[in-house]
């Protein structure tokens, strides 16, 4: 059971099983649109600098988006969680906007903020921020009443309640929110990077596609996967540092 658990957590093994499935499809279809994994890996390694450059461009957009989303989203989420009035006022909007696929706003952002990086980063913020707001708000709602009473019994000030109770209580929820939204932002970048840029892993894939260079295309797809794995790994590491108690 322990072994099975470790197996399920190992991202290396996840990558391996992906390769095996890929190889199977490659062998079954026998078409040049699905190149063999081996060929793709060799190709990727030979062009590692180019792939790294494109990945870095995408990564920068995502990290900027995450950073800004947290700076804006966490205070809003906290305020929603502690202020009933604001909760009543803002929640309907949140429930309306939350389920809409945020990629649908891409044209709007491009019209408003141009085709460049601004609209791409704003799209990512738009994806992540609602998830953060909702995670933080729900995290606060889940704080047991007794924990507030304990703080009261020690005469904690408002600031101390944030410092010792509310902030630590929401930390794990922030990570959950990020985990949910990072995948979606990667997927959305894939679309957003088709416009007004020559850098980004999304651009890399689409341009390979239009060139009908399928090995190149698959090297991009593989890289997106690896990018996701790296982001989740970073997230895990940070969570283990700042919120280790439920691990």
């Amino acid at each position: 059971m322990k072994l099975l658990k470790r197996f399920s957590k190992s991202q290396l093994l996840g990558f391996l099983s992906f390769l095996i499935l890929w190889e199977a499809v490659h062998l079954l279809l026998r078409t040049h649109t699905v190149p063999s994994p081996w060929e793709t890996i060799v190709y990727s390694i030979s062009r590692i600098d180019k792939l790294a450059l494109h990945s870095l461009a995408s990564l920068l957009r995502i990290l900027t988006g995450i950073g800004i989303s947290m700076v804006i989203g966490i205070p809003i989420g906290i305020y929603l969680g502690v202020s009933q009035k604001f909760g009543y006022l803002f929640s309907p909007f949140l429930y309306f906007i939350y389920p809409i696929p945020k990629i649908a706003f891409l044209p709007v952002f491009m019209l408003l903020f141009g085709l460049g990086d601004t609209s791409k980063v704003i799209l990512i913020i738009w994806i992540i921020i609602f998830q953060i707001i909702i995670s933080v708000r729900d995290g606060i709602a889940q704080i047991p009443k007794i924990q507030y009473k304990v703080m009261d019994s020690f005469q904690a000030s408002a600031f101390q309640k944030y410092r010792f109770l509310i902030i630590p209580a929401i930390l794990p929820h922030i990570f959950t929110g990020l985990r949910i939204s990072i995948g979606i932002s990667l997927a959305s970048l894939f679309f957003a990077e088709n416009y007004a840029t020559v850098y980004g892993i999304g651009y890399y894939i689409i341009s390979a596609w239009t060139k009908m260079n399928y090995v190149e295309m698959f090297s991009g797809i593989m890289t997106i996967g690896i990018l996701g794995v790296i982001l989740y790994q970073i997230l895990d590491e940070i969570e283990l540092k700042v919120a280790p108690w439920n691990k």
């Binding site: 009473k149 304990v150 020690f154 005469q155 010792f164 109770l165 630590p168």
Partner: protein, 252 residues
Amino acid sequence: MSNAEDSFIRLDDVTFSYREKIILNKVSLKLKKGDSYAVIGKSGVGKSTLLHLIAGFLKPNAGSIYIDQQEIKSVRKNTAFLFQELGLFPWQKVVQAVGMPLHLNKAGKASEIQNRVLSLLKELDLEHLKNKYPRELSGGEQQRVALARILITNPDLILMDEPTSSLDAMTKEQIQQLILKYQQKLKATMLFITHDIEEAVYLGKHILLLKPGGTFQVIENSFYSVPRAREQLGYYEQCIEIRKLLMDGETI
């Protein structure tokens, strides 16, 4: 404020109701400094309400509560409250949990606080658990940590709402001994609620039987703090007596 000499806690005609439901009706009560009081009474009679009033979590609709000559308007600095649910924070290791009240009170430098915490943990045999999170502790260990968290500030008033109700018999006795030891060491006044008559007799110098509306029957307990009380027949006779009083007028 006459003859307040030895009364540490004083309730003057305290009335409290939840909306139209009156729980305490013009209750007056005096509790002596340094004494230990067990509050018993049937479920829903208002024991927790009484304790929360004295803690300053609730305010009387009429009448006043004085502790140490001061009228209680909000939570008081030297009052410690042990909750039945403990309310340990999942993100605090034992040292952090026990140190928190001192940090909240700004009771000194971090290193001084650390030393005070460690010496109390040693006394409570919790030192080896200092870096554990609550989920890594047994029920009895969590109880001891929660106890340490209220004892660290050397309170002069200890309020406890069913402090041992979730523990097995062995652990319960161990915790009761600790409570008794520290109540006497700190010379603290103690008021605790229990559903366990035997606990009331073990820990309470006085037993307050609360009746609907807030009238009290006070029973003096001669087995409080008697060495090896539990090995004496009289101790159990006392329990039987109190059980009778508690059940009085009730049909089972």
